[in-house]
Subunit: 274 residues, 2 copies
């Protein structure tokens, strides 16, 4: 069986930067998991004693605190500053952007639509910068008509899909006299998504390597399924099942933006053995 | 043969208002034709001595000058003010809006895309309010990449088609970090366009009554042709051809936003005779 990797896959700029910051700050604490990949979080814990803390009340004065790639909520950031922690900001710069946009648009009197998953940490962080009415939606059907009575700004979770974003933008443009559209979808996400589309067309099985919590990994799988019905998501090589590969000729591999290269290599090696 | 009128057709708010202003200002001069309908212009000349003047140098001090529904260029307006004319502004308020938007967006440092016909008087007027780089386009393929390097504002000629406007918006959103979309397409245009779509589906011949220069009339014909191949545009009843109606069972009638009711009635009466 031939194995092909996608043209673009895996670690994005923001994740690489966050991991470098964690490696440079031994014994630090991250607020929530640094990235959406448990194996890499474990590695940082074992090799650099970087620990995950979800309860801010457990953070001690003077400790080194790393803000995760997805950012945190505005109030939490204030709280960390109040207890005199040393803040190492590993928020992806592409996430800082929609945070700033929401803050500015609220100040300018726009209501805000955020295209994203309302429970995703990035979206919670971004939404916390809205001081005007806002709504987090996954599709145009969910948009609250009260929100669109005002002039509207539209931003996106960085890892979302462009075509759905455009659907929402088009709906808003039809009904609102002014829509200020900020395309905050990150290029790496877009490139990985374009690449898996191509890959899936050329393969009879596709393995997407990534965390089960990772938004962009889930979307890679969705896109892949549109072009190759035998597409599977695994967190590591142990989740691969031998029967998936029966009679398959070309296996594609791609990976989410928070999947480290060493896991992808392990997966590829295990596939070769099967 | 059955005759059906579209659910919505003919005079829009801005045209009605302009004609009322002309009728109230006997002996006034309009800068260019008040609306895009020669027959109505002739009627205003005969009944109210309202004359058309295209050369600003011929305008005399102290004369009553009517600004046409499409508006005029910023410099021309200044010139009229300088020669102390009495200005009666019949610019459609829906046209004044994109003029103001262009002025404001230029001031805020946006480059501007105007979706429209570059030779249309409305578009010339709107464009004259841009002091930043701008471009008038009819499709996304024509967009100059130099314009979109900056943050972008998008406006539309009031009588243009929404779906094409969205195509341009989508293209800009894909390539620009911020697109400020102003949907300046006027509701009357939109409603007339939706209505002709429905009408054309129910008829085997459609007559669109309107001026040959009228942008919204041309679009009504285009939309009608998509659903009924026997669609024709006429300026008045004299342009109707008997052979069009052979074997036809249901004839639809619609009219552009600048077509007066009396012309539509004449057309309908002539069709009944044929």
């Amino acid at each position: 069986m031939q194995i092909k990797r996608a043209e673009k896959y895996g670690f994005c700029f923001g994740v690489k930067r966050a991991i470098r910051l964690a490696e440079q700050n031994k014994n630090a604490v991250t607020i929530g998991p640094l990235i959406h990949n448990q194996k890499e979080i474990d590695r940082l814990k074992i090799n650099f004693n970087v620990n995950v803390e979800t309860n801010l009340d457990n953070i001690k004065e003077d400790s080194n605190v790393i803000i995760r790639t997805h950012g945190i909520q505005k109030n939490d950031l204030e709280k960390l500053k109040q207890i005199n922690t040393h803040i190492i900001d590993a928020t992806c710069p592409f996430v800082t952007k929609p945070q700033k946009i929401c803050e500015q648009m609220s100040n300018e009197g726009y209501n805000i639509i955020i295209f994203g998953d309302k429970d995703h940490p990035e979206v919670k962080g971004v939404a916390s910068y809205c001081s005007s009415p806002y709504q987090v939606v996954l599709d145009k059907e969910s948009i609250d008509s009260n929100i669109v009575r005002n002039k509207i700004a539209l931003v996106s979770q960085t890892t979302k899909n462009l075509s759905k974003f455009l659907e929402i933008a088009n709906y808003l443009i039809e009904i609102s006299p002014e829509v200020r559209v900020f395309n905050t979808i990150c290029n790496a996400t877009f490139e990985n998504q374009e690449a898996v589309k191509q890959l899936a067309k050329e393969c009879d099985i596709v393995i997407v390597v990534g965390g089960k919590q990772s938004s962009n990994t889930k979307q890679l799988l969705q896109i892949s399924l549109n072009y190759c019905k035998d597409s599977y998501c695994v967190e590591d090589e142990n989740e691969l099942q031998e029967n998936w590969f029966l009679d398959k000729k070309v296996c594609g591999i791609t990976a989410g933006a928070s999947t480290p290269g060493w896991i992808i290599d392990n997966v590829e090696n295990r596939i070769k053995e099967l």
